[in-house]
Structures are given as structure tokens and as C-alpha cells.
Amino acid sequence: MTRATGEIMLDVHNVSLRFGGVKAVTDISFDIRKGEIRAIIGPNGAGKTSMLNVINGVYHPQQGTITFKGRVRKAMQPHQAAKSGIARTFQNVALFKGMSTLDNIMSGRFLKMHRNFFWQLIHLGPARQEEIAHRRKVEEIIDFLEIQHVRKVPVGKLPYGLQKRVELGRALAMEPELLLLDEPMAGMNLEEKEDMSRFILDVNHEFGTTIALIEHDMGVVMDLSDRVVVLDYGRKIADGTPDEVKSNQNVIDAYLGVAHQEKSR
């Protein structure tokens, strides 16, 4: 596959992030190419989630630049990131608990809807047509993710695996160019993981969405991703294709240590 050689979509350059005295991420650089699936891996506390938060504007790094689609930016608000085409999911499902599956995914269409307050008030004509047009889009996502049977169920009542799927749906509804997935398979059983892997691949294939994902399950990462960047204690220790990374001594050391710790837990 040649996807990893596409043009650079996102370039992270020498980024450092501190909270008070705690260094979360130190001097990290890597890029994400258009159309690829890029994995960010590393042991717990390696700064993976912080990295995602920097990319979509939740955290503002003290140092370094981020170039997205050719535009350099330093500090940006999350909603601006959303507008520029970045969507994401969360490690611990962050759905809107008071809403149904349908409404949750519909909320992903927020930026695509434009009818003003007064049309919304009377909910006729353009406002209703807009709502219907977007409902159709949302239904296509529901169909894609095979969650028709829970369409109108409040998300709080869904099993965990389905919630993760709905969250993916909500991100897809934004029609993002870059999709950030924070441990999309955390807490899933084997079957759910397989389903989720298939969905991620399908998203990448069918919509051509560029994906950056954080994942713990090494097997999944190696199967899914085109390129992998490895973090440890906030620093980058390796970057390359899954095979390259697998044989990298730094990675082996970092992961063996973790494997031991996890086993002893």
C-alpha cells in the first residue's frame, strides 16, 4: 500500500507541554500523511492523550508548532479545530448521556447546520429541510455502523461496546478530514474489537479519512496502522512502519517493562 507516502496533512514540530512542573510531552515531532492510519502508542502515562489534546486545541503547548493542511497554528480553540476538520473520540466514552443514539450522532452535524435562530424557532421551511437532510446523513452513518436497532435508545442504556460505536458515529458525522481515536478498543471483548477494527478500516477505505489512533492492544495497532509513533515518558522513542517499530530496541525495552508491570498487577 502506498498510503503512507501521501502528502503531509498534519505536522507536529518540536512540541512540548507542561502542567505546572509536570512535563506531559517533551519536544515531539512527527507527521500524519493524508489517507493513512497513524498509530500513537506507548505505555501508560507516555503522553499519548496529551498529544491528541494538543492536536485538537484542548491543550496549548508551551513550545513548538502544529501545521495542519499547510497552515501553521500555535494556540487554537477546540471548536476551531473542529471547524478545520479534526474530529475525535475519547478514551472514556464522552457521549451526551441525556440524548439518544440518533441525537448524539446528529450533534456531530452541528457545524454543518446553519439555519438561524428564527428559522429554528418556527421549525418550518428551511430549518426543517435542513434537519431532514442531516438526518439522512446521520442515518447513513447509523447504517454504516450497524446500529439501527438502537437508533432511538438513550445512549446511557447501551452496552459499552455500542457506546464506543456511537461515539465513532458522532465523530464521523462531522465528516472530518482527520479523525483522532483515543483508545477506540479499550475495554472491549475480542469480538467487539474485531468489529471496531473493521469499522476503522472501512472508514479509512470508504471515506478516505485520515486516522490517528491511540491504542494499547499491540496486535490491533500492528494490523491496522500504516505507520506508528511510539512515545515513552513524553518523548518520542520510535517512528516507522509497524515492522520497523516492532524490531526497535527502545520500543522493546519500554514495552517489556510495561508488560511486566501489567502482569504483576
Binding site: 492523550t49 489534546n53 484542548v58 475519547f90
Partner: protein, 319 residues
Amino acid sequence: MSLLYDILVAPFVQMADAPDFLAQVLWEGFVSGILYALIALGFVLIFKASGVFNFAQGIMVVFAALTLVGLYQKGVPALLALVLTIAVMGLLALAVERFIMRPLVNQPHVILLMATIGLTYFLVGLGELVFGGEPKQMITTELGLPTGSTEIPFGERGVVILQHIDIAAAVIAILMVAGLGLFFNRTRIGRALRAVADDHQAALSVGISLNQIWAIVWFAAGIVALATGIMWGARSDVSFALEIIALRALPVLILGGFTSVPGAIVGGLIVGIGEKLGEIYWGPLLGGGIESWLAYMIALVFLLFRPQGLFGERIIERV
């Protein structure tokens, strides 16, 4: 221009002109600040241990004072009435624990807040039903609290008048804060209470059930309320009008943070003194009565710059 002068210059000229009056205002601000701090302390105790924003704290103040005076009026000797009132506050604490806290544990903040507003309604009705709604005199002397006042010469010609009851209030408030401090730091239960604020599991490992802890903090808050009630009652009358004082104490919490005892004290003093100064020196410009909201405005402006309060910790949002 003259408006700016009135706001920015004139009050300070006024202060400099009559330093004794300024000192008097500061003293009175200090005393009411202390009482605010006491009310805030009641809030903080309960919030820290159970996450309940106890809206009924204000009414507990009134209710305690009313019970004390009411019992006395029914012929109970003053000190016995005091003991009985403490017992009533204990019963109240037990009842609150059993009928509000226990069934509503784990409900969202707003539900618990509503429950305490319901409790407010209940206590208002109960107090008035049993003791009547008309304002009453606090039994200051009967409790052995000092009355009268001392005039202290100030500056060249001026004097500052210190009401003895105010001095007593200050002393008692300080003693109470110190006592609570000892209780929290030196006793097993106190340490458990502090643990519970951080981690419910940890508290359980100390061997005290959450239910007991709640009963204890509510009781402690009741005692604080009683002390506050006696002081306020001695300065004005005992009536449900006092309830408004409790609402006035809320900005103290915003300033100090919901969980900080020192914050409650410092916040109380800031609000008490600031309010008095504002009322005396700037109030007339606006037609008076500004103390009903001035403290809130101060707190609000303050919050905009420090959302976590004076002593709260900075919140880092994890995603």
C-alpha cells in the same frame, strides 16, 4: 467629572477626615465578617464531608436561635434551654442524615441542594408553628454574655465604641474555629472527616461509616449555627428576617471556595469589611441598600479571574 470625583476621591477624603469613624466602620465590618465566616464555616463543613450545598444553613441559624429563645420564653432556664437546643440540633442532624442524606446519596448536586431548600421550608414552618413568627429578644444576659460597651479614644478627638457582645462574638468565633481546627487535626473522627472529603473509601477504612460522618458534620454545623444565631440575635432581633443574612454569606463561599476553612474566614472578613465600607462611603451615591448585592458583585468579579476561589486548587480538565 463630578461623578468620578464622587466615586474615586470623595470617599477617601471622607475616610481621612474622620479616622475614628473609619476605625468604627472597620470594626463593625470585622464583626459582621466574623459572623459571615461562621455561617460560611457551617456550609464548608457539610460541603466538604458530603458534597451537599446546604442551603438550609441560614435557616438553621434562625431555627437554633428561635428554639433557644422560644424555650426560655416557655419557662425553661437559660442554660438548660441552651443544652436542650444543642440536643435539638443533634436530633436535627440525625434526622437529616436518616431522611435526606441516606436516601439521596449519590444524587447530583442540584438534587441535594433542592432537598436542603425543602428542609428550609420545613424548618421555617416548624419554627413559626411552635414558637410563633414575631421577632424576639435574644437572651444575651441570661446566657452570661456581656452587654454594654467600651469607648476607646482614637486619634486626637475621636472615639471608637466597642460593643462587648461584639467582642464576645469575635472571641467565641475564634475559639470555635480553633476548636474545629483541633477537632479536624487531632481526633480520629476529625481525620476521618477530612479523609472523606478526599476519598470515601479511605474514610471507610478508618472504621467510621459515612452515615455517622454525615450525622456528625450536620451536628457540628448545627452547633456553629447556634453560636451564629446567638451572636446575630444579640445584635438585632431573632426572627426569620435573619435568614437573609445567610444568603448574604454565600459570596463568602465563592471567595473562599466551597471546601476551604481558611477561605471561609478570610472571605468572611473581606465581605464583612468590604460591605460596610461600600455601604457607608459609596452607598449614598446609589441610593443606599447596596449591601444586599455588593458582596455578590465583589465575588463575581473575583470569580471571573479566579474561578476556583481564593484557596481552591486549580482545576486541570482531563479529557
